[in-house]
Symmetry: C2
Subunit: 376 residues, 2 copies
């Protein structure tokens, strides 16, 4: 079987106005043939797809600042929440939507977004409760000390693990702040579900040169992690991170660890020239599990353990913005032994990934569509 991308058919399907033209591809991956089909269209930068218990999904549209509830089975959609304020440009906007681990009882939906104005902004976390299609409760649970005049590198991906809420904060284009633990810039944080600081966080009560270390910090030295997910087989938290030109990373997140940005990196400045010390490793700093050179611009990250694609079980799936594909990393004894580039060049910038209860894979593309992968 030759590994060749075979476009079999383009179907025109009668549908709602915003999804006037649907497309379907039959492709071959190393694990066999699969189908990619467009389910809906017309989304603005769908940065997060989160399934609800009833099988519907929440889709966060980044620059539009709107969370939409979608039923992929019939295409029905309703806008249910919006980011407050008008600050939705460049990287700013919505960054993630995540259900409370006990959503069925608590009803809490967590959202991250940029807050401020075009000259001074940061990342915040609200949680909301719905009453039908309307917001009933809204609470600010956390405001990151990651204010900057730039409009980039917010991070903002959330993940629950053992009841704690982890959230990534980008370097806000101030690389030097990623090593400064007196602010939240360039860190992964760990919070209680109401925003309080867990007492067993690694830096609680510590000081750096007479400045208190932010007690929410779980790990630091990150650049712009837009993927954060738990491998349920091991309980490990992993991240996917935008590096500089070259040097995108996938990291295994360890409590209290320093991931080296901007002291060490495999990448270069986009305008040329070395990063930090121009070295790739240093005592006391973590090395990535995988590095993408040239940059793929990794977005969302999920661990696959679904039924639909047995050969993908135990793989990480990572969206690629710049190199426009779905990246699959398979592991063996903790080391990557396979990198596969799926739907390569086909769907535009892949910004979000979700897996449903049957193991089918959903991809949100900056072209505006949500696509589904299923075995042929």
């Amino acid at each position: 079987m030759k590994l060749q991308q075979i476009l079999i058919a383009v179907l025109l399907v009668a549908s709602a106005p915003s999804q006037a033209q649907e497309t379907r591809y039959e492709l071959h991956g190393v694990a066999g043939p699969y189908v990619v089909e467009q389910l809906v269209n017309g989304f603005s930068q769908p940065i997060a797809i989160e399934f609800l218990p009833d099988g519907k999904a929440l889709v966060a549209q980044r620059n539009l600042g709107v969370i939409t509830r979608v039923d992929f089975r019939n295409g029905e959609r309703v806008d249910i929440a919006a980011m407050p304020g008008e600050f939705k440009v460049s990287d700013a906007g919505l960054h993630d939507v995540e259900l409370h681990p006990d959503y069925t009882h608590t009803g809490w939906i967590y959202i991250t977004y940029s807050e401020g104005d075009p000259h001074y902004s940061t990342l915040v976390i609200d949680r909301i409760r719905l009453d039908g299609d309307k917001i009933r409760d809204r609470e600010r649970i956390f405001t990151a000390d990651a204010y900057a005049e730039t409009l980039y590198h917010y991070g903002g991906r959330m993940q629950f693990l053992e009841g704690y809420l982890y959230v990534s904060v980008g370097d806000r284009q101030h690389p030097e702040r990623a090593q400064d633990r007196s602010n939240h810039t360039g860190s992964i944080l760990r919070l209680h579900d109401d925003g309080r600081v867990p007492v067993d966080n690694p830096f609680v009560g510590l000081e750096d040169e007479a400045k208190p270390v932010r007690p929410e910090i779980w790990s630091y030295g990150h650049r712009n992690p837009q993927g954060l997910y738990v491998n349920p087989q091991t309980g490990e938290l992993w991240s996917s991170e935008h590096g500089p030109r070259g040097g995108d990373e996938v990291n295994r997140i360890v409590k209290g660890a320093n991931y080296g940005w901007a002291e060490i990196s495999f990448g270069f400045e986009y305008e040329g020239g070395p990063i930090g010390k121009g070295i790739v490793s240093q005592e006391g700093m973590q090395q990535p599990v995988w590095v993408y050179v040239p940059s793929i611009a990794p977005s969302d990250l999920v661990f696959y353990q679904g039924e639909a694609f047995p050969a993908w079980r135990g793989s990480w799936l990572i969206g690629a913005l710049a190199l426009t594909h779905l990246n699959r990393l398979a592991l063996q004894d903790g080391a990557v032994v396979l990198e596969e580039r799926l739907v390569n060049g086909l769907l535009g910038r892949i910004r979000s990934i979700a897996v449903d209860s049957a193991g089918l894979v959903y991809l949100g593309s900056d072209l505006g569509g949500i696509w589904r992968l299923r075995p042929l």
Copy 2:
């Protein structure tokens, strides 16, 4: 099917003294289970494996400077040729052995090796003809102008394509010479089978700043290509190249092209700090097809189109020295869509690769063994 390396059995087999202990593994790759078994042992840096029409193979032992004829079917071996001189240290020694495309009629066997002394050496090509186990004819067909005081970066891999002999020459640890076309350092050369210069080579008759460009040069700006092979499906010549720390490359070789070393690179100096201009691309310089970061230290390269592993057809196989595995790159529309790391960490430094007429894959390891991969 979980992608997991499963060691099933270790067999002790009665055999010749130099191969007292043979080992067999059953492993799982993404294309299914396969068996790795040791055929022979006791080779010193087996840098090239070349099959003869009768099914026996020539194995070049780098630092030993000896070419041995081996019958993998019964373990019989005989040393048939040696590198002249005693200059067999560091990277110096034998680099490749290659049959003439019409070997059955011409009988020519081409060998590359280091010539000189520990303070001044270069790369040369001889061709020999055998009479039984003895050398009958020996001709020097080429001496590269790649003299240096170092003992590293000779390149030396050969490949015939459409009757022409291509050979790689490393930068001899003089990076600045790779851009200087008045010598052969850091180049891939194209010769007639007797060493003469083809008149349609890209730089015949050209001068650089009043210095004649070496007319043998086909492409330049290379660091240390130890793999050179033709994709018979496309007729393209590809190379695998040792980069600096980070920045190992796989390249599609284009007539007359500049591969950028040491002006541009994805890598760093091993001691830290940028390479050349600290940039990864520049107008007029080729970009690699694939980059390995961190470095795997690529050695030999072959294009797989055998029968035994149908799923591997159309893949490049690359040996890895530092990261001790067999690397498989599968392509789709000319872009890499898959990187698989086979026999990961199992066989030591993989220095040579060959495929027999049935499509079974042979690997020469610096641990001294030749191993064979076959489907389970």
